[in-house]
Amino acid sequence: MHRVKVRVVEDALDANNTIAKANREDFDRHGVTVVNLMSAPGAGKTTLLERVLGPGMPGLRTGVLEGDVQGSLDADRLAHLHVNVTQLNTGGGFGGECHLDANMVRSALPAVGLEDLDLLIIENVGNLVCPAEFRVGEDVRMMVSSVAEGADKPLKYPLMFRACELVVLNKIDLLPYVDFDLEKFRYWVDQVHPGVAVMETSARTGEGVDELRAWLATLPERAGAAV
């Protein structure tokens, strides 16, 4: 028995990226624009979705793929809206993963029904670290940060802030009650990801939600133009 060196030189996430590409081809074939929505737990992803999708998205058949480790609490909250909601539990055969990967999303596609959609929002598992590493075939990635989390988050989680095309700062109704330095947050977001779009919202009061709705509503045109 002897030892042999085997040259590999392969991106560790190649296998995931290959499946993500297959997902993307399916999305494109069906003309579906896909958003990967990410944040820390409790930043307000689901509440924002309720606000954003509540009035309906005119002319856009919209679906949500809810990623959670366990349970269907979030999907239940969205069930009364005029959207297609599909629950994807990472605990169901995927080992309770802390993020969605391309293969999990692929396995959920038959239930999602791409032929009935124009816009699909994939709500990732609440986590500021792992979801940034795993593409799932999305057109764009947006993250939600909240004023309750602190202004230093871009510095601590640069991978996530750099992975996104849009950063939404949520819970701005809490600004009078927390020590959140908005200028510092904006400065660090711009340093970590120069030029990235930033919006401020309150899912509670509805402030800034129209701007986010407009961003989502024009996404299919913009994504189409980019292809």
């Binding site: 042999v4 296998a15 340093q191």
Partner: protein, 118 residues
């Protein structure tokens, strides 16, 4: 915490290239910007590798320092904090030359010695 997910991906890649042979060393190149903690990755490689071809394999991880380049200023520099604007012109036309790698560089495997080694 993403070390567990990364370890799993690294192990899959290593096992595929090992093609049935036992793996003794896994060499990973991880860019500084990927924020991979070496001890944590080694821990998960050991833990998740049990019962597979990489059981007992040693992780050798090289951290690739981050280097950025500003095209208009024609200069490049190293960074410690994740600030991606050019410190000279303040511009955003900055590209990452190195520091975003996450690759399995090579593995070492055990192979049956054959009679004709000459």
């Amino acid at each position: 915490m993403h070390e567990m997910s990364i370890a799993s991906a690294v192990l899959d890649t290593a096992a595929r290239h090992a093609a049935g042979r036992r793996v003794t060393v896994v060499r990973v190149r991880a860019g500084q910007l990927r924020q991979v903690v070496p001890d944590s990755l080694a821990f998960y490689i050991e833990l998740l590798g049990r019962g597979g071809p990489c059981e007992g394999a040693r992780l050798e991880m090289e951290v690739v320092p981050a280097r950025l380049r500003c095209a208009p200023c024609a200069r490049d520099w190293a960074i410690d904090v994740p600030a991606f604007r050019c410190p000279q012109c303040g511009g955003a036309e900055v590209s990452v030359l190195a520091g975003e790698e996450l690759e399995v560089e090579s593995i070492e495997v055990e192979q049956e010695s054959t009679a004709c080694t000459a």
